[in-house]
Symmetry: D2
Subunit: 391 residues, 4 copies
């Protein structure tokens, strides 16, 4: 068994852990441990909300979630010899739930709390609890469905440099400034409230908290990519921006569909990740790397029959034609799938939750046929107890 370099006590919030992690991105957060290229180690993670969501039938905790504390991350881990311009190669050797906490949750965020992909259609908070049985999961809130998860960290990446952080802050401030009165704002800017920055203290903490990037968006370093295929056996190539790389991670998902559409949309859980790291010196230049690159692992669940729903970039409200808008097209594909699933006994909320967390594939099928993008969402039919194919 690999050594556990980051432990969590699930009964305590992240800032009270013996070795606190962080919930903002900043280059100055000191490493909690140091490894060498070739090392194998285990990292434990809390769920992304720091334990705000309960295993019960009441969605009020989803409605009332405090987003200033997310995402709680484990790390940073320093990798000896990794320098800016290198590639950090990370193998996800294993990932799983803690044996005493074999459950997770999927939430529909309330519109007033930011909502999700279909928030105009689903403005109210909702929640499904999932129980794990080995590789499978089922939910008392969505009967008739069972599937194997493609478990993965929703969020993983290296610390930004000061320069990169400044670039993030600048462009995100400019976006917010383009519509400054919008509620919610177009991006979440640095916010010292409830910031957890590992071992930083005093004035160093103050300064970092004022400028540290929020964790929600994926960025050049990876971060909160929510890519379901970063699962067991995958190999990820990360850009390195600071000495020692400073790798952090969290937001473990037992399963997720492409898009993670309800926002809190994967099956969110606490758990562990076993990692192997290596370094490709000078790799960023050698391979022209901007964003991370990865190879999926060999043990993703294997389905052979899918039902696929199409969507185009014409909106569902007044039939307005959008120009090459993949966002609208994917939304229509998802809405078509949800409508279809209601014909088989699922509520609209159940269908929305299911599309968000089951192993569905969301594709950009055609993106050049002016003015319509065609997106598709593919649902494996084998996850349903009933046959859901049209007859």
């Amino acid at each position: 068994m690999p050594e556990t370099l980051f432990k969590v006590d699930l009964t305590k919030p992240m800032h009270e852990q013996e070795m606190p992690g962080h919930n903002r991105w900043h280059p100055d957060i000191p490493p909690v441990a140091s490894v060498k290229p070739g090392d194998v180690f285990r990292i434990e993670c809390k769920d992304w909300t720091d334990g705000q969501i309960k295993n019960d039938d009441n969605p009020n905790d989803i409605r009332d979630v405090d987003l200033s504390v997310v995402h709680v991350l484990s790390g940073p881990i320093r990798v000896e010899g990794a320098q800016p311009g290198d590639i950090l190669v990370v193998d996800i050797l294993d990932i799983g739930a803690f044996q005493e906490h074999e459950w997770g949750f999927t939430g529909i965020f309330a519109q007033e709390n930011g909502g999700g992909f279909l928030t105009e259609h689903f403005p109210t908070a909702n929640k499904a609890i999932w129980d794990f049985q080995g590789i499978y999961t089922t939910s008392r809130h969505i009967p008739g469905v069972k599937f194997a998860g493609i478990t993965h960290p929703g969020l993983i990446g290296c610390a930004p440099s000061h320069e990169l952080l400044a670039k993030w802050n600048k462009r995100e401030r400019e976006l917010v400034a383009s519509d400054p009165n919008r509620v919610p704002p177009l991006a979440t800017l640095p916010n010292p409230e409830n910031a957890v920055l590992g071992g930083l203290k005093g004035s160093e903490f103050e300064q970092a908290a004022a400028e540290a990037a929020r964790t929600v968006p994926p960025r050049e370093h990876g971060g909160n990519c929510d890519i379901k295929n970063l699962s067991r056996g995958s190999k990820i190539y990360f850009p390195v921006y600071v000495d020692g790389a400073k790798l952090s991670m969290g937001d473990i998902h037992f399963s997720q569909g492409d898009g993670e559409i309800t926002f809190c949309g994967a099956i969110e859980m606490a758990g562990y990740i076993d990692l192997h790291v290596d370094v490709i010196k000078g790799g960023m230049d050698k391979y022209g790397m901007v964003n991370p690159i990865f190879k999926p692992g060999p043990v993703e669940p294997r389905y052979s029959e899918y039902l696929v729903f199409e969507g185009i970039s014409v909106d569902e409200f007044d039939g307005k034609q959008y120009y090459m808008d993949a966002h609208v097209a994917y939304r229509r594909a998802c809405l078509n799938a949800i409508e279809y699933l209601t014909k088989f006994g699922f509520t609209r909320e159940q269908a929305y939750l299911l599309l968000s967390c089951a192993p569905v594939e969301g594709r950009v099928s055609g993106i050049v046929d002016i003015p319509n993008v065609c997106c598709t969402v593919a649902i494996p039919t084998e996850i349903f107890e009933k046959d859901i194919v049209p007859v």
Copy 2:
């Protein structure tokens, strides 16, 4: 062998065929043949440009393509008993090139001709010719690559009703009107020039040509969806809008990547499609159908190792932060992949063409992490002669 209900002579343009097809969508185009539910039959198709592109090394034919004649379609086929509100179930039993024309082309459209997904980066026309050897293809213009195609019709669907056609025209006119001086326009509106409308003649032809929809965008009926997975063995459920359904198809692709990013981006070819049809009476209501639904077939090429590139919705020009723009995110993923492939000896044009036509997977990975969408493009590593994994 199934009976061939629509034959083409590749030496003649579509309007000179013994039984002309059509290149616009209109409910009044008379059927060329009639089948019963349960029937199996073969349809022959010209390539989408009606033979404008030659098997040579000069991309000027791509540059000079006349888009008023596209897409040339075979049909419509009347299905007895199919009525508005039904679902037409179409099985793609087989699909292939004509034995005497075992080649296809992929083009980068010039910016002045509408361009493609990355037209700002690739403004000049380019062309790759692909030779087929059974299930495989190779190109003298992109050495070092060989793959099995997921052959499919880029375009297939039933005729719209008059009402649906009117809706299409209204919304597309409104889009064009929103920026009326744009070159090229935001959508291609009805254009009688070079319209081919099957057996319509005289004033009926004139009226239909004036209002018939262009074939480029996918719409509620399916149409030019360019979904690579509508391949051998797939089963498609189409909404029916007119008596007899009036099924038409064309734009056969030997292979295509998700997005078909160079616009003329699949490996375009002439060929045949073997079909089986059936009808689900009243199916549209029964299943809440808006757009077509499908089940992919069981013989798509099977790869196990992919290299996946991520992109986020920050643009590549001045680093501007976009709000939840999947278009930008997928573009960045594609650009990242192109840049990477140049490190292995491909030109940027070769890499762009390859992403467009090889069996790559384009995914909407995360679409709720404000303000960044994360899209990915996955390339099977086994299509390359050389190993392209980072080391």
Copy 3:
């Protein structure tokens, strides 16, 4: 389209073809055509019985088949530069039925005619006719089943040298001699009756016919291996024993299960094969080759749910314990599967035929646990209209 180097007229027996093939293995049969390494070409093949079986409901043609004429092969094809000790690399680029003959047959051979794997249980001749619809097949004789074929040549290989032929004859004669009065004999020895030896004539024909090997068993050169995975896209490495390699093939199967258990057990058909050839000089020594090696292609049908039956080496007659007998174990696994399928409305004959020709996987699961081998046979559940999983 590749040039067709061997054409067949399905209305005539092999010896009356304009360019006759052969139905025995002999090094002196002259090549019918010559190709160079790198060439692509098409070979047409009759079905293995030379057209003895009809598309009707009467199994008497199976009962009365004349085995002295099998297998009719197309070839030999000379490959320039191929010499003994080389490896001939053959790519199966494509394979299919003739468009005007889209059907095939599966037969249970009568016990008096040699029978099949379960001949004690199925002593009587039987037949199923299969109709092809693109990649799929169905049979009026086995309703409720539909599947995609893994089409392949049952028989393909290079000519033996005189030395190798002598070795074959010697060892097979010794086997027959070990039980000389057995009916049928333990092996089919050379038999000039109905021998077809391509262009050989006169005394050369007489001599060759007297010693030419029968085509039934697979041998060092490959030959009648009946390996279902030599399908589209596969690459086969053959040992070369004579100058020019002299490649021949036939016995095309639309589909077959591992073992081809009813003997005439695939879906047998006439058709064509498109090939690409190359040579690895000195490859046999370099790679220590005895028998052919191959890489399966990427477009085999993809199923994800199988029902798997086990068998052990205890016989079904009086429960006798055999010592490590994989033959008995696989027979028991097949019998268990047949018994099971009868619970879902299939007759025993239908189930036997189905196991023989559908894409089932037959595995040597455990072969060291004295005294029992454990073999398994895996049936894809998706080929059945009804759900066949136990409940």
Copy 4:
């Protein structure tokens, strides 16, 4: 986390465990725990040799292994309501190594100790130790290879009835009696020495030990099937012979190739299995069940490129022709693969061990082409660091 119903202390032999399991099959062994249909629980298992093999480089422990103590099994578990004639449905929900013992071993048994499938060629004991890193394993004794395991219990099944046990003993005695002086004997008959029979004591122990069946061969109840595909997510249907079913299991394999050819041929390990059980009343009759049936799970490692070796039933010693001998054919296929692998830097012993424990597929390809069976063994090329395809 499911409740652990059977715990093991790896520092103690099975008979000294607080709750001893058993190493013989007998209906009278009392259950160690009782569950209800629908229950989920965990079972811990020692490795099959009861800890005789060490994590070192000396194969003497393999050479000197005491086979009278194998296989040590965990159980029996009583399932309430299960009665003779029912089917016990067992879901393998999860399976894995203990975190503090993430290693396993593969041994070549010495010929004097019974040997393995190729014992004439490999008469000497040998050993490879495998280290686990999440889903992957590597061995310091076989460098250049890394693969994901298809982890499974080599041995699982319900207790036989007295009648079934008597049948087993009778037929195995008859086999031994057919060659009574053979060394080793043709089967291992009941042997009270080192028998462990759970809670049985005194005269009950004496009587059961005298007649209890050894665990090596697979039999009607399943038992030591060594089927690599009984992995995570698989569902097994077992015949029930005694009240309460009495399910036992052990012999966990991190990975195994079809055939498990070196005898101690999987990657043998201690570990845990999470199970869910259910009962189909009267299922044996309903489905005509003789041996277990199963459905493989959805997360087996997924490879797409295999190199496949053929073998026929002609022996490798003096070229003797065997009649339809799948044992010889599979042996030749394995020998061909081993010879091939030596061309890439592996010793013959390494290649033999690798074929035995890596996820290779062993198939009965053709079993009706008199007198030769054709068997194949397929090796995924992606497990090798080097490219092993012929060039």
